[in-house]
C-alpha cells in the first residue's frame, strides 16, 4: 500500500530537492553547465548583504500580503460560511472562478485596470475625482495589490473550512455566558478558526515570498524579490549552482515558517 506513495515522494519531492542540494554546492563552467566540485561559495554569496536585503524585503512583502489577506479574507470567508446553503455554494463558486483562467491573464487584467489610461483612471477621471494622471501601476502598491489578489483565495478557503465547521451554538453560548461581540470573537471564534487561519498563512506567506511574475509584470521589475533573483540565475546569469543555493535557503525558510506555525497551533490537522 505504501510503496506507490514512497515512490511518488521519492520521484517528485526527494529527488528534485536532492538535485537542488547537490547543485547548490557545485560550480559552473563558462557556458553555465554545472561542474561537480564541492564548495560552500554559493552559500557564502547568499549571505552577501545584497541578497540578505532582498530576502528581508521579500519577507516584508509576503508578511504584508499575508496580513492584508487575513484582514480581508477572514470576514469574507466567515460571511460565506455562515450564510444560507443556497448562497454559500454560489459565493464559493465566485471565490473559485478566478482559478478557471490563467494566472497571467488575470494579472494582465489588473494591468489593464491600473495602467495610466486604464479602467480605474478612466472611471476616476469621468467622475472628476482626480485630475493628474494615475500613478498606480509599476509601484510597490501595485505589487501588493497583485499579491493580495492572487493569494486571497488561498487564505479564504482554509478559513472558510474552519468557519463552516464551527457550531453556531458555540457563539450563542458565548453571548449567553456574558461575552460581548468582541470577546465572543477573541474567546471563541478566533481560537476555533485558528487552524484555518494558520493554514491560510502558510499557503499565502510562503508562496508570496517566492513570487516573481507579479513583481515583473505589475511592479515593472524595478524592485527584485527573491523569486526574481532565483529566476535570474537560471535565465540570465547562467549560474545554476547559486540559484540552487538560494532555492535551498528559501526552502529552509519555508520549513522554519511551518515549524513555527506548527508549534503555535495545529496546522498539520488542517493541512491533512
Amino acid at each position: 500500500m505504501l510503496a506507490p506513495l514512497v515512490l511518488w515522494l521519492v520521484a517528485f519531492v526527494v529527488l528534485p530537492m536532492a538535485i537542488l542540494a547537490v547543485y547548490s554546492v557545485c560550480q559552473r563552467d563558462e557556458l553555465g553547465r554545472v561542474v561537480f566540485s564541492f564548495s560552500w561559495d554559493n552559500y557564502a554569496r547568499v549571505f552577501d548583504p545584497i541578497y540578505l536585503r532582498i530576502f528581508a524585503r521579500s519577507i516584508g512583502y509576503a508578511a504584508l500580503t499575508t496580513a492584508i489577506c487575513v484582514v480581508m479574507g477572514f470576514p469574507a470567508a466567515w460571511f460565506i460560511a455562515r450564510t444560507s446553503d443556497r448562497w454559500r455554494q454560489r459565493l464559493l463558486v465566485l471565490v473559485m472562478i478566478p482559478f478557471w483562467t490563467s494566472f497571467l491573464i488575470r494579472t494582465y487584467a489588473w494591468i489593464t485596470i491600473l495602467k495610466g489610461d486604464g479602467l480605474l483612471a478612466g472611471m476616476l477621471h469621468y467622475v472628476n475625482a482626480i485630475s493628474a494622471p494615475l500613478e498606480l501601476l509599476y509601484t510597490p502598491f501595485a505589487v501588493v495589490i497583485g499579491l493580495v489578489y492572487s493569494f486571497l483565495p488561498f487564505m479564504m478557503l482554509p478559513i472558510y473550512g474552519s468557519a463552516e465547521k464551527l457550531d453556531g451554538a458555540l457563539i450563542e453560548v458565548a453571548y449567553d455566558l456574558g461575552c460581548g461581540p468582541l470577546r465572543a470573537f477573541s474567546q471563541v471564534i478566533l481560537p476555533l478558526t485558528k487552524p484555518g487561519i494558520f493554514a491560510g498563512v502558510l499557503l499565502v506567506f510562503v508562496p508570496a515570498i517566492g513570487m516573481f511574475a507579479i513583481t515583473d509584470l505589475m511592479g515593472g521589475a524595478r524592485v527584485p524579490l527573491i523569486g526574481n533573483v532565483i529566476q535570474n540565475q537560471f535565465f540570465q546569469a547562467r549560474d545554476w549552482p547559486f540559484g540552487s543555493a538560494l532555492g535551498v535557503v528559501f526552502l529552509l525558510l519555508f520549513v522554519a515558517t511551518y515549524w513555527l506555525l506548527q508549534r503555535r497551533g495545529a496546522v498539520g490537522v488542517e493541512l491533512r
Binding site: 450563542e172 458565548a174 453571548y175 455566558l177 456574558g178 461575552c179
Partner: protein
C-alpha cells in the same frame, strides 16, 4: 409574588411563518416550568426570546421586573443549556465551566472555588482537565449544565438537554435535574417534546401548539383536566368522543356518541345547556373484566389487539356499536394473563373519569 420571567403578548414570525403567536406567560421564582409540545410548535423560539437570541416582533420580555426585550443575551442574567451541549472544544472541562465566571471578571480564587462547587454539583470530580471530546455523552451533558449554572443565573433555560442521552441515563438525569433545581432554588424553564420527562420534573407545564400556549397548569391539572383534545392526546393517551346531550338526571348527565354509545358522566362537568361536546377518557380509567360488572356504564367488547408494554398492557377494544376504545391494564393482576386477542370482555367506565374538552 412578582414573576421571575414574564412574556407579554409576544409574537415572532420567520418570513410568512408565525412561530410564536401572541403568547403571554408568567414564571414564578424557583419554579420548574416545562414548555411541552411537538417539534415546530414554537417552544424553542419562546426559549430563545427569553435568552435574547431572538427579538420578538411584538410584545415584551420581562426578567425580574425589568423589560429586557431589547437587551442582548450577554446582558441578561439568564443562561441556557443547549440541546447539542455546545461545549467549547478548545477548552478543558474546567475552562468550559469557568467561561461565564471569567466573563464576569471574578477574582481568580473566587472563580476557582465556584468552578469546584459546580464540578461537585454535577459530580465531575477528576475530569476537570479533560477536553470535551474525551467525555461521554452524559458527562458532556453535566459539563454543559455546570457551565450554565456556575455564573449563578436567575433563570436556567434548558433546550431538550436530555434528548441525546439513552433512556436509562435520561431517567437518571431527570431526577438529578429536579434535585438540583430544588437545591439551588433557581427558576428552570425546560423545553421538551417528551411528555414523560415533563411530568417527571415540572411544577407546571405549558402545552405549546402552533405558536400558542394551549394549556398551562400543574402536572396534575394537565393530566387530569386537559382542556383540549390536543392537550389530552399529547400528554399520555386519551379516548376522545364527540357526543350529544341526551338527558340530565340526579345521577348525572347522559350523552350519546356519534356511533350511538350511551355514556353517563358527572353533571357538574357538563356545561349547562350545551347540546354538543367532546369528551376525553384516559385509557387506564377503563376497567376490564372477563365477566359483566354490575355498574351503570358497562359494555361488552372484543379484544382486537393486545400489546405488551412491560408494566402495562394496551388493549384495543371493539364495542358492539362499532367504536374503538383503548384500555391500559396494569400487569400485576392475574386477570390480564387470561385475556387474549379475540376474547369477549366487559368494560366499565365511571362518570367522574370523563373530562369535557374545549376547542383547540
Amino acid at each position: 409574588m412578582a414573576s421571575m420571567v414574564e412574556l407579554r403578548g409576544v409574537t415572532k414570525r420567520f418570513g410568512s411563518f408565525t412561530a410564536v403567536n401572541d403568547v403571554s406567560l408568567s414564571v414564578m421564582p424557583g419554579e420548574f416550568l416545562t414548555l411541552l409540545g411537538p417539534s415546530g410548535c414554537g417552544k424553542t423560539t419562546l426559549l430563545r426570546m427569553i435568552a435574547g437570541f431572538e427579538r420578538p416582533d411584538q410584545g415584551t420580555v420581562w426578567l425580574d421586573g425589568t423589560d429586557v426585550t431589547d437587551s442582548p443575551p450577554y446582558r441578561r442574567n439568564v443562561n441556557q443549556v443547549f440541546q447539542s451541549y455546545a461545549l467549547f472544544p478548545h477548552l478543558s472541562v474546567r475552562d468550559n465551566i469557568g467561561f461565564g465566571l471569567r466573563m464576569q471578571k471574578l477574582a481568580a480564587a473566587e472563580c476557582a472555588s465556584r468552578i469546584e462547587e459546580a464540578v461537585s454539583l454535577v459530580a465531575l470530580e477528576g475530569l476537570e482537565d479533560r477536553k470535551p471530546d474525551q467525555l461521554s455523552g452524559g458527562q458532556r451533558q453535566r459539563v454543559a449544565l455546570a457551565r450554565a449554572l456556575a455564573p449563578r443565573p436567575a433563570v436556567l433555560l434548558l433546550d431538550e438537554p436530555l434528548s441525546a442521552l439513552d433512556a436509562q441515563l435520561r431517567r437518571g438525569m431527570q431526577l438529578e435535574l429536579k434535585r438540583l433545581q430544588r437545591q439551588l432554588g433557581v427558576t428552570f424553564i425546560f423545553v421538551t417534546h417528551d411528555q414523560e420527562e415533563a411530568l417527571t420534573m415540572s411544577d407546571r407545564i405549558a402545552i405549546v401548539n402552533r405558536g400558542r400556549i394551549e394549556q398551562l397548569g400543574t402536572t396534575d391539572e394537565i393530566y387530569h383536566r386537559p382542556v383540549t383534545a390536543f392537550a389530552a392526546e399529547f400528554i399520555g393517551q386519551a379516548n376522545v368522543f364527540d357526543v350529544q346531550f341526551v338527558s340530565a338526571a340526579a345521577d348525572g348527565v347522559r350523552v350519546r356518541t356519534n356511533t350511538g354509545l350511551q355514556l353517563l358522566m358527572r353533571s357538574d362537568r357538563w356545561p349547562q345547556g350545551k347540546g354538543k361536546g367532546r369528551l376525553s377518557l384516559r385509557p387506564e380509567k377503563v376497567h376490564v373484566a372477563k365477566e359483566p360488572i354490575p355498574a351503570e356504564t358497562t359494555f361488552p367488547a372484543i379484544v382486537e389487539e393486545k400489546v405488551f408494554k412491560g408494566s402495562v398492557d394496551h388493549l384495543r377494544l371493539r364495542l358492539p356499536e362499532g367504536s374503538e376504545l383503548l384500555a391500559i391494564v396494569a400487569n400485576q393482576s392475574a386477570l390480564i394473563a387470561r385475556i387474549h386477542r379475540g376474547d369477549q370482555v366487559y368494560c366499565c367506565v365511571h362518570p367522574e373519569d370523563f373530562v369535557v374538552l374545549g376547542e383547540t
